[in-house]
Symmetry: C2
Subunit: 314 residues, 2 copies
């Protein structure tokens, strides 16, 4: 069945009591530097420090009691794991998170802090999926895939619903990063339904450009080895996500690693909020390709703020 | 004439079109660590990155056109200077800021960025005041004192008005840092008028405890040499401020420098916002004296987020 705006609106009703309605931040000084009017939906101020709380909450609160008691399981480079652990704890359900060995310490600690059981594995998508399959068989728990999953996509799309309601006037462009594509797919469905003249753009680091390659060739890359500072965007875009993105997203743009660090620092100094590298990719793209954004009103979803303060990239 | 809640309410009407109504942030994880229910009024997300935008804006927008054209002048370790420069620019008025030589580079750059003329001086209150007096005589400009000034106190008090409106239910305690005392004096008047059962507490680093010494002896210290990481709290409490604080504030509490850094890091990691050391003093005090705050609902004004990212204290 096709995922629609109604699913996202239902998800929003379901999760609204548990999540923050995060603010939309603006900075006139930053607008002057960048040359367009920027609106930042601050999901780094969301529960667990990332938009992933939305999807995780939607998944857990859509489950029946009997399935919940057998537990939920997922694999995640970090934020989805924390989100699922947090949401499971809200309903008193057991939760297991399979994490790549190279996940940031701060993200592993966060998942532990929400009371989940952590299993480390090799940092490849294949290893993550194999470990999860094994544990699902052993535990009888329910897999909540971090992105290739309609219930997660619907949850992530709720950030765009809120943002379109919070910004006065229309947006010319809505831009969100792509890791597995859950956020971008949900954002595209919500935006195209509620603001049909707003262009939707996906943001990807050039060194993790699997979605860009697939979008431009018409065929999804099933496996890919990214090499980017953006630890939240190392996943390969999902099947379901790729389908929605090719149908509803207007374009995918790329940026350099250096620009990500520069954009991240600008967000810290001008918006006064902590963001992780992945979160700075949309702004980096605007800085790398200013002519496409000049004078436009641009909505950016700031995805998360979970970063190790002892390992800053400057 | 006695400063009252009406002056603060008028200030709020005057400045509301120009400032951000900043969000009140909460973190359940942080509440669990600290052991009370904390509400953070995020003035680090305010225009110019600090609550001082409120006072500066109130001062400039209270002036007549003729005085404005001769310009405004002030001395400031940073945020008030940026606030006055920003507000003066909104009305097209010239602005001069006298700054101590040891002010953070990032704060000097901010004042320059708003188009003000900067004059550096020795880092003592006496040197700052002497330089300003000389320039006022030469320029005919209007001195907008950073804190010892009713129009500034009224402006700073508007943050508390908003916060009391934004938090559902009552607060047991409202706590704000003391540098010159503008924020604490305004906060005390607003809080005592609108929420008479809420205790008002001033927060000071033990190594800049001039207000605490004055509060407990009944006599303001006219001069003092602080030695604290909290560059925003190095000013000596003002005459007008001391008068209001001794009348309306319930207590002043102290904290160690080490605890300030620890509290600052907690704010960064748990609330995902950038704050400067001064801004972390209320939380540091709660951590240093937990028994006084246990289980209470506490409002904290996060004062500012202007910090040099290349000189972090960890």
């Amino acid at each position: 069945m096709k995922l629609s705006i109604k699913d996202i609106q239902q998800a929003h009703e379901r999760i609204a009591p548990y999540i923050h309605r995060t603010p939309v931040l603006e900075s006139r000084a930053l607008n002057k530097i960048i040359g367009c009017e920027l609106f930042f939906k601050a999901e780094n101020l969301q529960k667990i420090g990332a938009f992933k709380a939305r999807g995780g909450c939607n998944a857990v609160f859509s489950m029946d009691e009997a399935s919940l008691q057998k537990g939920v399981i997922t694999h995640s480079s970090g934020n989805h794991g924390a989100a699922l652990a947090w949401a499971a704890a809200l309903r008193g359900a057991p939760c297991t998170v399979v994490m790549p060995e190279n996940a940031p310490v701060v993200k592993i600690a966060a998942v532990e802090g929400y009371g989940a059981n952590i299993v480390l594995c090799e940092p490849t998508m294949a290893a993550r999926e194999a470990m999860v399959a094994k544990l699902v068989t052993e535990q009888g728990s329910t897999l909540v895939h971090p992105f290739d999953n309609d219930i997660i996509i619907a949850g992530q799309g709720t950030a765009a619903i809120e943002m379109l309601d919070q910004v006065e006037g229309s947006l010319d462009i809505m831009i969100a990063p792509i890791g597995g594509g859950g956020l971008l797919a949900g954002t595209a469905i919500a935006t195209k339904a509620l603001a049909k003249n707003t262009q939707v753009i996906g943001a990807e680091p050039a060194q993790a450009n699997d979605a860009w390659l697939g979008f431009n060739s018409g065929t999804r890359l099933p496996e890919f080895s990214p090499n980017t500072i953006c630890d939240g965007l190392r996943a390969t875009v999902g099947v379901r996500n790729f389908e929605i993105i090719t149908q509803q997203v207007d374009d995918i743009l790329l940026c350099s690693e250096e620009r990500v660090v520069e954009a991240m620092r600008l967000i810290w100094t001008r918006l006064k909020v902590i963001c992780e590298p992945s979160c700075a990719v949309p702004l980096a793209i605007i800085m790398d390709q200013p002519e496409q954004f000049q004078g436009k009103r641009v909505g950016i979803i700031l995805t998360g703020g979970n970063i190790d303060l002892d390992n800053l990239p400057w």
